[in-house]
Symmetry: C2
Subunit: 111 residues, 2 copies
């Protein structure tokens, strides 16, 4: 794994909410919610700079929302769905439902 990943019981509600409170990061979570691991270069628009991506991966990872692991020259990202569902039942489902019904500010960041 890359960087710090909190253990499940160290995941804090306020950190998860802050991490999700950004349209670019919601766009990431929407892609990862489909399941599996995704190369970091494929989950957001190609227009977004590498430094911006790196910042957002760190916020999501530090909050406990995603796993990030190296794979060759790329990183693979996946959603910590099981951990989040166990810690905060219903939260991720409610957020993903909100993303589906109000995608306007998120779609601009789609790959």
């Amino acid at each position: 794994m890359i960087g710090h990943h909190p253990d499940r019981d160290q995941i804090k509600l306020e950190n998860v909410l802050t991490a999700l409170g950004n349209p670019m990061r919601l766009a990431v979570v929407r892609v990862l919610a489909g399941g599996g691991e995704h190369p970091c270069g494929t989950v957001l628009s190609k227009e977004i700079s590498k430094s911006t991506l790196t910042h957002h991966w760190r916020v999501l990872r530090d909050a406990g929302v995603i796993w990030q692991r190296p794979s060759g020259r790329a990183h693979l990202l996946s959603l910590r769905r099981e951990d989040l569902d166990e810690r905060f039942p219903g939260l991720l489902d409610a957020v993903l439902h909100g993303v589906r019904t109000d995608p306007d500010s998120i779609d601009q960041y789609a790959p």
Copy 2:
């Protein structure tokens, strides 16, 4: 009403998540979730400065999480529960469940 309150259909998911992504504001929402209007001086610890409170009321209000209306020399606060439940079904319930199961960082701000 005081200041800007977005209409229900203008409430944005990312703004609600950001507003809730703070232990002091989660402490406010926990109190208001009991229902009714609460004088602004009664929902958080007396230790918190007026300027800090004013900042947090604005973040919650601008995001569409609370109503804030004047009453004499005070303001009355209430949760926009119906609007939030309509816009983002299950979100507030999941957050309040998380607050109940992991109150550590929130209790310090209780009145």
